[in-house]
């Protein structure tokens, strides 16, 4: 049997992965969705290294987005939704930053952002869409005219065009493709060569990874390639699209990772409190980011009792009966 993608191992520390593949000013796609599979270990590493001026792109993002905004790493966002379910109907640091004029935001809908990533993944310049007509998404630009067409900012937010295939005159919206510099993904399984398996909902993680120039994957378990190849129908990304594999158990904490652990309601409630003010949030960063240079340090800070409390039941995939108030 021939060697598979033989190649060198892509396993590296979060520090090495972030240091090598993320730079000031990059456009970064955040995987996950609100309270699930946020790439938190990677986000904390970005915050710790003080990376600046990031341009975040996501559909609906909660915890990773809010931490990066709160830590001052982010200059611009293109997004459909910044919230964390019942734990933060609007993301806390995000809200404050927007209200204080410290963040440039361009709003789309979830379907629109999904189509924009899909266009990037398929190497297409744009996608048509019938969602968004007569809304202010079409009217209000988040980025000024001086930025239009610069770097990765498209010359138009969206364009109204004629549908050439309709029998009656009909309009269609065209949405520009997204091709992020980097996509961050947290997965349940990866092998050293970069093969990735996500369990549960994949959201838009796969399209984001396929649209990006570089991909960093953190994972709960590093498993042998042979294990993943026993049932390739279940795999999510091929190795040649992945640049770094970071072993990060509980790497989505305090958000959930299906079949491994639930979201951590205590931490998320505590976060809501701490994120409410600049001073208290600095305290949060000191304790949970600065003082925890490694994932091991972070998990020690969380503590065994809380990790056990949120551990997933193998049948349900979450922690049944968890106190989620």
């Amino acid at each position: 049997m021939p060697q598979h993608n033989g190649g060198d191992s892509k396993v590296m520390s979060a520090g090495e992965a972030v240091g090598r593949f993320i730079h000031d000013g990059d456009m970064v796609a955040l995987g996950g969705f609100t309270v699930t599979r946020n790439p938190m270990t990677l986000a904390r590493e970005i915050a710790r290294r003080g990376i600046q001026d990031l341009h975040l792109v996501a559909h609906s993002q909660g915890q990773a987005l809010d931490l990066l905004v709160g830590a001052g790493c982010v200059r611009r966002i293109e997004i459909a939704y910044g919230g964390n379910g019942r734990f933060a109907p609007t993301c806390i640091c995000f809200r404050r930053a927007v209200q204080e004029g410290r963040l440039e935001v361009e709003d789309y809908s979830n379907f629109q952002m999904s189509l924009r990533f899909l266009a990037g993944a398929l190497n297409l310049p744009f996608m048509p869409c019938r969602s968004g007509f007569a809304s202010d998404l079409l009217v209000h630009m988040g980025f000024g005219p001086e930025l239009r067409g610069q770097g990765k900012i498209p010359p138009h937010k969206m364009v109204v065009a004629d549908d050439p295939f309709s029998r009656q005159p009909e309009k269609v919206l065209l949405l520009p493709a997204l091709t992020p510099d980097v996509a961050l993904v947290h997965a349940q399984y990866a092998s050293a060569d970069g093969t990735v398996r996500i369990k549960g909902l994949t959201f838009l993680d796969l399209e984001q990874a396929r649209a990006a120039s570089r991909v960093i994957v953190s994972c709960e378990e590093i498993v042998p390639e042979s294990f993943l190849r026993q049932d390739p129908d279940q795999n999510s990304l091929p190795p040649f699209l992945v640049d770094a594999v970071v072993h990060a158990p509980f790497g989505a904490h305090p958000t959930a990772c299906h079949y491994f652990y639930d979201y951590d309601p205590r931490h998320l409630n505590m976060y809501r409190q701490e994120a409410g003010g600049d001073d208290s949030f600095r305290g949060y960063l000191d304790k949970w980011v600065t003082a925890c240079p490694s994932q091991e340090d972070y998990l020690a800070q969380v503590g065994a009792a809380d990790l056990m409390r949120i551990r997933a039941n193998s049948q349900a995939g979450y922690a049944p009966g968890l106190d989620r108030r």
Partner: protein, 258 residues
């Protein structure tokens, strides 16, 4: 004997009752989730509850607290992704009913879930559209949840996130929408619907113990109160299902009746 119940309980049930058996129910966070779950368990057992994240027909043994909660991935018929979910939302062969909350609404059911004040420097920033604009554009029909007060029921939205009946009458069709639009607004006071011709909001149902005048005073625009009927109070079965099966921890229901 009258049963005690809360406004949230009444709202979830009033909305859930509008689902037809067999509908494909698209649920957002919060009360939307309760309404879809209670519909599935009582009024419309052959309906399918699905989420924009791609979870389709979960068992809902426990109530999800977000549309990406692992509880929307458990026991489903299919775990997919956003693209599949939105392709279902707008599918011509499906009667998809969307349950949504919003921050502001106007007389024609257009909604705002983006911001209050100037878009670039808002007084209050909300999470943004999420799937709200998509549901208002693509679903077969939308049922909205609102707290009823004059700051939320406004003459003019600060930002139009999701198009309802636009300026009313034929405006929505003329703007190119092929279907959809809001069918009802469920608040803590009653249920509003939209006039078939003018598409203007009117009071359709008042909850027991609420006076039409309260609705008028809580609404920032002119509302037709003349067609209001009394809403049926929750039945014992409805309350039992809601409290014991759907949200026993009262995570979204909130405090029990006094």
């Amino acid at each position: 004997m009258t049963l005690a119940y809360t406004k949230n309980e009444m709202m979830a049930l009033a909305a859930g009752r509008m689902a037809n058996n067999g509908d494909i129910l698209f649920a957002g966070t919060g009360l939307s989730m309760l309404a879809a779950a209670v519909a599935k368990r009582i009024h419309a057992p052959q309906s399918t509850v699905f989420f924009e994240t791609g979870g389709i027909d979960p068992t809902l043994d426990e109530l999800p607290m977000a549309v990406a909660d692992p509880r929307v991935m458990s026991g489903t018929c299919l775990n997919s992704g956003l693209l599949e979910a939105f392709s279902i939302l707008g599918h011509r062969r499906l009667r998809t009913i969307s349950f949504l909350g919003a921050a502001q609404i106007d007389a024609f059911g257009n909604i705002n879930s983006t911001c209050i004040g100037d878009y670039h420097r808002p007084r209050v920033r909300f999470p943004g559209s999420g799937g709200a604009c998509d549901a208002m554009c693509l679903a077969h029909a939308v049922i909205l949840f609102m707290q009823h007060d004059t700051r939320r029921f406004v003459e003019k939205l600060d930002y139009l996130t999701g198009p309802g009946w636009l300026d009313g009458g034929q405006a929505r069709t003329e703007a190119g929408f092929r279907r959809g639009g809001p069918m009802a607004v469920v608040t803590n006071l009653g249920v509003m619907k939209f006039d078939e011709d003018s598409k203007r909001m009117y009071l359709a149902e008042l909850y027991p113990g609420v006076e039409a005048q309260q609705v008028a005073e809580s609404t920032g625009f002119e509302m037709d109160l003349t067609r209001a009927q009394k809403a049926s109070p929750p039945t014992e079965e409805e309350l039992a299902t809601l409290r014991q099966k759907v949200d026993p921890q009262r995570l979204i229901l909130g405090p029990p009746p006094a």
